[in-house]
Symmetry: C2
Subunit: 148 residues, 2 copies
DNA sequence: ATTCATGCAAATCGTTTGCAACCCA
DNA sequence: TGGGTTGCAAACGATTTGCATGAAT
Protein backbone atom coordinates (compact mmCIF):
# COMPACT_ATOMS: atom_id res chain seq x y z
CA UNK A 1 0.00 0.00 0.00
CA UNK A 2 1.48 3.34 -0.99
CA UNK A 3 2.32 5.97 1.59
CA UNK A 4 -0.44 8.34 0.58
CA UNK A 5 -2.99 5.53 0.91
CA UNK A 6 -1.79 4.58 4.36
CA UNK A 7 -2.05 8.18 5.44
CA UNK A 8 -5.52 8.40 3.96
CA UNK A 9 -6.56 5.28 5.81
CA UNK A 10 -5.41 6.74 9.12
CA UNK A 11 -7.16 10.01 8.54
CA UNK A 12 -10.37 8.23 7.60
CA UNK A 13 -10.23 5.98 10.63
CA UNK A 14 -9.96 8.96 12.96
CA UNK A 15 -13.42 10.04 11.87
CA UNK A 16 -14.89 6.55 11.76
CA UNK A 17 -14.75 6.32 7.98
CA UNK A 18 -13.57 3.29 6.06
CA UNK A 19 -10.93 2.99 3.40
CA UNK A 20 -12.62 1.83 0.22
CA UNK A 21 -11.15 1.24 -3.19
CA UNK A 22 -13.25 4.10 -4.55
CA UNK A 23 -11.82 6.56 -2.05
CA UNK A 24 -8.31 5.37 -2.80
CA UNK A 25 -8.77 5.92 -6.52
CA UNK A 26 -10.31 9.35 -6.09
CA UNK A 27 -7.35 10.54 -4.05
CA UNK A 28 -4.89 8.92 -6.47
CA UNK A 29 -6.48 10.73 -9.39
CA UNK A 30 -6.31 14.06 -7.62
CA UNK A 31 -2.68 13.49 -6.72
CA UNK A 32 -1.83 12.47 -10.26
CA UNK A 33 -3.29 15.75 -11.48
CA UNK A 34 -1.84 18.10 -8.95
CA UNK A 35 -2.05 21.77 -9.84
CA UNK A 36 -4.78 21.08 -12.38
CA UNK A 37 -7.76 22.17 -10.31
CA UNK A 38 -9.94 19.32 -11.54
CA UNK A 39 -13.69 19.70 -11.48
CA UNK A 40 -15.91 17.02 -9.96
CA UNK A 41 -16.93 15.89 -13.41
CA UNK A 42 -13.30 15.65 -14.55
CA UNK A 43 -12.40 13.65 -11.47
CA UNK A 44 -15.32 11.37 -12.22
CA UNK A 45 -13.99 10.84 -15.74
CA UNK A 46 -10.49 9.91 -14.62
CA UNK A 47 -11.70 7.72 -11.79
CA UNK A 48 -13.96 5.83 -14.18
CA UNK A 49 -10.96 4.83 -16.26
CA UNK A 50 -9.61 2.90 -13.29
CA UNK A 51 -12.88 1.95 -11.64
CA UNK A 52 -15.60 1.92 -14.32
CA UNK A 53 -18.54 0.97 -12.09
CA UNK A 54 -18.19 4.02 -9.87
CA UNK A 55 -21.16 6.38 -9.58
CA UNK A 56 -21.02 10.17 -9.68
CA UNK A 57 -22.63 10.37 -6.26
CA UNK A 58 -19.69 8.54 -4.76
CA UNK A 59 -17.34 11.13 -6.20
CA UNK A 60 -19.38 13.89 -4.59
CA UNK A 61 -19.50 12.06 -1.28
CA UNK A 62 -15.79 11.33 -1.35
CA UNK A 63 -14.82 14.90 -2.15
CA UNK A 64 -16.94 16.09 0.74
CA UNK A 65 -15.00 13.81 3.07
CA UNK A 66 -11.60 14.67 1.63
CA UNK A 67 -12.44 18.33 2.14
CA UNK A 68 -13.56 17.65 5.69
CA UNK A 69 -10.30 15.85 6.37
CA UNK A 70 -8.39 18.81 5.03
CA UNK A 71 -6.86 16.75 2.24
CA UNK A 72 -8.37 18.84 -0.55
CA UNK A 73 -9.97 22.26 -0.80
CA UNK A 74 -13.01 23.20 -2.75
CA UNK A 75 -12.23 26.09 -5.05
CA UNK A 76 -14.71 28.55 -6.26
CA UNK A 77 -13.58 29.92 -9.56
CA UNK A 78 -16.76 31.67 -10.69
CA UNK A 79 -17.92 28.70 -12.66
CA UNK A 80 -21.23 26.97 -12.28
CA UNK A 81 -19.52 23.92 -10.79
CA UNK A 82 -16.72 23.36 -8.29
CA UNK A 83 -13.09 22.46 -8.65
CA UNK A 84 -10.80 20.91 -6.08
CA UNK A 85 -7.14 21.15 -5.29
CA UNK A 86 -4.82 19.07 -3.19
CA UNK A 87 -3.72 20.78 0.01
CA UNK A 88 -0.02 20.86 0.54
CA UNK A 89 0.99 20.38 4.15
CA UNK A 90 3.35 23.33 3.94
CA UNK A 91 0.72 25.91 3.09
CA UNK A 92 -1.45 27.26 5.71
CA UNK A 93 -3.57 29.88 4.25
CA UNK A 94 -1.03 31.42 1.99
CA UNK A 95 -2.18 30.35 -1.41
CA UNK A 96 -3.84 32.59 -3.95
CA UNK A 97 -5.14 32.09 -7.47
CA UNK A 98 -4.41 34.06 -10.60
CA UNK A 99 -7.32 33.83 -13.00
CA UNK A 100 -6.70 34.96 -16.58
CA UNK A 101 -9.77 36.70 -17.91
CA UNK A 102 -8.64 36.04 -21.46
CA UNK A 103 -7.78 32.35 -21.61
CA UNK A 104 -9.30 31.24 -18.33
CA UNK A 105 -6.14 29.66 -16.98
CA UNK A 106 -5.79 29.35 -13.22
CA UNK A 107 -2.42 29.46 -11.53
CA UNK A 108 -1.61 28.92 -7.88
CA UNK A 109 0.65 31.43 -6.18
CA UNK A 110 2.44 31.16 -2.89
CA UNK A 111 3.09 34.77 -1.90
CA UNK A 112 1.34 36.06 1.13
CA UNK A 113 1.55 39.68 2.01
CA UNK A 114 -1.81 39.95 3.63
CA UNK A 115 -0.61 40.09 7.22
CA UNK A 116 -0.45 43.89 7.41
CA UNK A 117 -3.92 44.12 5.90
CA UNK A 118 -5.28 41.60 8.35
CA UNK A 119 -3.74 43.44 11.26
CA UNK A 120 -5.32 46.65 10.05
CA UNK A 121 -8.71 44.97 9.76
CA UNK A 122 -8.40 43.57 13.23
CA UNK A 123 -7.52 46.95 14.69
CA UNK A 124 -10.14 48.92 12.79
CA UNK A 125 -13.07 46.51 12.76
CA UNK A 126 -12.36 44.21 15.68
CA UNK A 127 -12.65 41.31 13.24
CA UNK A 128 -10.23 38.50 13.97
CA UNK A 129 -9.11 37.01 10.67
CA UNK A 130 -8.09 33.39 10.64
CA UNK A 131 -8.29 32.59 6.97
CA UNK A 132 -8.70 34.27 3.65
CA UNK A 133 -9.37 33.52 0.04
CA UNK A 134 -7.96 35.70 -2.68
CA UNK A 135 -8.50 35.67 -6.41
CA UNK A 136 -6.65 37.97 -8.75
CA UNK A 137 -8.15 38.61 -12.15
CA UNK A 138 -6.00 39.80 -15.03
CA UNK A 139 -3.99 38.78 -18.07
CA UNK A 140 -1.50 35.96 -17.81
CA UNK A 141 1.98 36.02 -19.28
CA UNK A 142 1.13 33.77 -22.21
CA UNK A 143 -1.82 35.90 -23.26
CA UNK A 144 0.08 39.16 -23.11
CA UNK A 145 3.02 37.61 -24.99
CA UNK A 146 0.77 36.26 -27.71
CA UNK A 147 -1.19 39.36 -28.45
CA UNK A 148 1.21 40.60 -31.16
CA UNK B 1 -38.12 60.79 -12.40
CA UNK B 2 -35.45 60.39 -9.76
CA UNK B 3 -31.79 60.89 -10.56
CA UNK B 4 -30.87 57.24 -10.20
CA UNK B 5 -33.63 56.27 -12.61
CA UNK B 6 -32.51 58.79 -15.22
CA UNK B 7 -29.01 57.48 -14.95
CA UNK B 8 -30.28 53.92 -15.27
CA UNK B 9 -32.26 54.88 -18.36
CA UNK B 10 -29.18 56.34 -20.02
CA UNK B 11 -27.05 53.34 -19.22
CA UNK B 12 -29.71 51.00 -20.55
CA UNK B 13 -30.13 52.99 -23.75
CA UNK B 14 -26.41 52.77 -24.48
CA UNK B 15 -26.76 49.03 -24.79
CA UNK B 16 -30.09 49.08 -26.62
CA UNK B 17 -32.10 48.09 -23.57
CA UNK B 18 -35.35 49.69 -22.51
CA UNK B 19 -36.30 51.24 -19.22
CA UNK B 20 -39.17 49.23 -17.80
CA UNK B 21 -41.02 49.65 -14.54
CA UNK B 22 -39.68 46.27 -13.42
CA UNK B 23 -36.08 47.32 -13.92
CA UNK B 24 -36.70 50.56 -12.09
CA UNK B 25 -38.14 48.76 -9.09
CA UNK B 26 -35.32 46.21 -8.96
CA UNK B 27 -32.72 48.93 -8.83
CA UNK B 28 -34.74 50.91 -6.27
CA UNK B 29 -34.95 47.88 -4.02
CA UNK B 30 -31.23 47.27 -4.22
CA UNK B 31 -30.52 50.92 -3.46
CA UNK B 32 -32.91 50.90 -0.53
CA UNK B 33 -31.02 47.95 0.92
CA UNK B 34 -27.48 49.07 0.35
CA UNK B 35 -24.86 47.14 2.28
CA UNK B 36 -27.24 44.26 2.81
CA UNK B 37 -25.96 41.92 0.14
CA UNK B 38 -29.43 40.78 -0.89
CA UNK B 39 -29.87 37.42 -2.56
CA UNK B 40 -31.86 37.08 -5.77
CA UNK B 41 -34.71 35.53 -3.85
CA UNK B 42 -34.71 38.36 -1.31
CA UNK B 43 -34.72 40.94 -4.06
CA UNK B 44 -37.64 39.08 -5.61
CA UNK B 45 -39.52 39.32 -2.34
CA UNK B 46 -39.01 43.05 -1.93
CA UNK B 47 -39.77 43.81 -5.57
CA UNK B 48 -43.00 41.84 -5.32
CA UNK B 49 -44.21 44.15 -2.58
CA UNK B 50 -44.13 47.05 -5.02
CA UNK B 51 -44.84 45.16 -8.23
CA UNK B 52 -46.70 41.95 -7.34
CA UNK B 53 -47.06 40.54 -10.85
CA UNK B 54 -43.33 40.31 -11.45
CA UNK B 55 -41.82 36.92 -12.24
CA UNK B 56 -38.64 35.50 -10.78
CA UNK B 57 -37.15 35.15 -14.25
CA UNK B 58 -37.36 38.90 -14.71
CA UNK B 59 -35.34 39.41 -11.56
CA UNK B 60 -32.66 37.07 -12.85
CA UNK B 61 -32.64 38.78 -16.24
CA UNK B 62 -32.51 42.24 -14.70
CA UNK B 63 -29.67 41.39 -12.35
CA UNK B 64 -27.72 40.04 -15.30
CA UNK B 65 -28.10 43.37 -17.07
CA UNK B 66 -27.35 45.48 -14.00
CA UNK B 67 -24.18 43.48 -13.54
CA UNK B 68 -23.27 43.91 -17.20
CA UNK B 69 -23.80 47.65 -16.85
CA UNK B 70 -21.52 47.69 -13.83
CA UNK B 71 -24.30 48.91 -11.56
CA UNK B 72 -24.19 45.89 -9.27
CA UNK B 73 -21.74 43.09 -8.61
CA UNK B 74 -22.54 39.47 -8.12
CA UNK B 75 -21.04 38.23 -4.88
CA UNK B 76 -20.04 34.75 -4.18
CA UNK B 77 -20.19 34.12 -0.49
CA UNK B 78 -19.92 30.32 -0.49
CA UNK B 79 -23.64 29.84 -0.47
CA UNK B 80 -25.61 27.82 -2.97
CA UNK B 81 -27.13 30.98 -4.42
CA UNK B 82 -25.82 34.42 -5.30
CA UNK B 83 -26.02 37.78 -3.63
CA UNK B 84 -25.63 41.19 -5.18
CA UNK B 85 -24.28 44.49 -4.01
CA UNK B 86 -24.51 48.00 -5.38
CA UNK B 87 -21.29 49.30 -6.89
CA UNK B 88 -20.18 52.63 -5.58
CA UNK B 89 -18.69 54.89 -8.25
CA UNK B 90 -15.75 55.68 -6.02
CA UNK B 91 -14.45 52.12 -5.92
CA UNK B 92 -13.00 50.49 -8.92
CA UNK B 93 -11.11 47.66 -7.35
CA UNK B 94 -13.90 45.98 -5.49
CA UNK B 95 -13.72 46.13 -1.76
CA UNK B 96 -13.22 43.15 0.48
CA UNK B 97 -15.61 41.16 2.60
CA UNK B 98 -15.29 39.98 6.15
CA UNK B 99 -17.22 36.78 6.65
CA UNK B 100 -17.84 35.71 10.21
CA UNK B 101 -17.64 31.95 10.48
CA UNK B 102 -19.67 32.00 13.66
CA UNK B 103 -22.72 34.15 12.91
CA UNK B 104 -22.41 34.35 9.14
CA UNK B 105 -22.44 38.14 8.98
CA UNK B 106 -20.84 39.79 5.98
CA UNK B 107 -19.23 43.20 6.21
CA UNK B 108 -17.79 45.30 3.44
CA UNK B 109 -14.38 46.81 3.97
CA UNK B 110 -12.72 49.58 2.05
CA UNK B 111 -9.06 49.10 2.83
CA UNK B 112 -6.93 48.17 -0.08
CA UNK B 113 -3.38 47.23 0.60
CA UNK B 114 -2.99 44.75 -2.18
CA UNK B 115 -0.89 46.92 -4.48
CA UNK B 116 2.47 45.66 -3.25
CA UNK B 117 1.25 42.07 -3.58
CA UNK B 118 -0.01 42.74 -7.10
CA UNK B 119 3.27 44.33 -8.10
CA UNK B 120 5.12 41.33 -6.81
CA UNK B 121 2.87 38.99 -8.74
CA UNK B 122 3.37 40.99 -11.89
CA UNK B 123 7.14 40.93 -11.54
CA UNK B 124 7.40 37.28 -10.58
CA UNK B 125 4.74 35.69 -12.76
CA UNK B 126 4.27 38.21 -15.57
CA UNK B 127 0.59 38.25 -14.69
CA UNK B 128 -0.99 41.67 -15.03
CA UNK B 129 -3.61 42.05 -12.31
CA UNK B 130 -6.52 44.33 -13.00
CA UNK B 131 -8.97 43.22 -10.36
CA UNK B 132 -9.18 41.06 -7.31
CA UNK B 133 -11.66 39.51 -4.98
CA UNK B 134 -10.81 38.93 -1.38
CA UNK B 135 -12.74 37.22 1.37
CA UNK B 136 -11.51 37.14 4.93
CA UNK B 137 -12.90 34.49 7.23
CA UNK B 138 -12.84 34.92 10.96
CA UNK B 139 -14.75 36.05 14.02
CA UNK B 140 -16.52 39.39 14.01
CA UNK B 141 -16.45 41.86 16.85
CA UNK B 142 -19.97 41.05 18.06
CA UNK B 143 -19.26 37.35 18.26
CA UNK B 144 -16.02 37.76 20.17
CA UNK B 145 -17.65 40.27 22.54
CA UNK B 146 -20.58 37.96 23.23
CA UNK B 147 -18.67 34.84 23.97
CA UNK B 148 -18.39 35.53 27.75
C1' DA C 1 -45.07 49.73 -35.88
C1' DT C 2 -41.08 47.69 -34.34
C1' DT C 3 -38.35 45.78 -31.10
C1' DC C 4 -37.44 44.45 -26.87
C1' DA C 5 -39.25 42.74 -22.24
C1' DT C 6 -42.35 40.11 -19.42
C1' DG C 7 -44.65 36.19 -17.11
C1' DC C 8 -45.33 31.58 -17.02
C1' DA C 9 -44.04 26.99 -17.25
C1' DA C 10 -40.96 23.73 -18.78
C1' DA C 11 -36.21 22.62 -19.12
C1' DT C 12 -31.23 22.58 -17.37
C1' DC C 13 -27.62 21.30 -14.62
C1' DG C 14 -24.82 20.64 -10.65
C1' DT C 15 -25.46 18.43 -6.46
C1' DT C 16 -27.99 15.71 -2.84
C1' DT C 17 -30.62 11.95 -1.05
C1' DG C 18 -33.30 7.44 -0.29
C1' DC C 19 -32.68 2.83 -0.44
C1' DA C 20 -31.46 -1.99 -1.26
C1' DA C 21 -27.31 -4.47 -2.10
C1' DC C 22 -22.49 -4.66 -0.74
C1' DC C 23 -18.00 -4.57 1.52
C1' DC C 24 -14.51 -3.18 4.92
C1' DA C 25 -13.08 -3.60 9.76
C1' DT D 1 -21.50 -9.81 11.83
C1' DG D 2 -22.59 -4.87 11.61
C1' DG D 3 -22.29 -0.38 10.29
C1' DG D 4 -20.46 2.42 7.02
C1' DT D 5 -20.51 2.63 1.69
C1' DT D 6 -21.92 2.17 -2.97
C1' DG D 7 -24.62 2.61 -7.33
C1' DC D 8 -28.71 3.86 -9.14
C1' DA D 9 -32.46 6.70 -9.83
C1' DA D 10 -35.32 10.04 -8.16
C1' DA D 11 -35.40 14.50 -5.91
C1' DC D 12 -33.71 19.25 -5.34
C1' DG D 13 -32.83 24.04 -5.89
C1' DA D 14 -30.93 27.77 -8.32
C1' DT D 15 -30.90 29.53 -12.74
C1' DT D 16 -32.11 29.57 -17.75
C1' DT D 17 -34.99 29.35 -21.74
C1' DG D 18 -39.04 29.05 -25.17
C1' DC D 19 -42.89 31.32 -26.37
C1' DA D 20 -47.03 34.01 -26.77
C1' DT D 21 -48.46 38.38 -24.89
C1' DG D 22 -47.54 43.12 -23.55
C1' DA D 23 -45.05 47.49 -23.17
C1' DA D 24 -41.52 51.04 -24.48
C1' DT D 25 -39.53 53.88 -28.03
Amino acid sequence: MKDSTIKLKDQLKEKGYKLTSQRKVVLDVIMDHENEHLSTEEIYGYVKERHPEIGLATIYRTLLILDELGIVSKLDLDEEFNRYELNKDSEDHRHHHLICTKCGSVTGVEEDLLDPLEQQIQKKYGFYVNNHRVKFYGICKECSDNKH
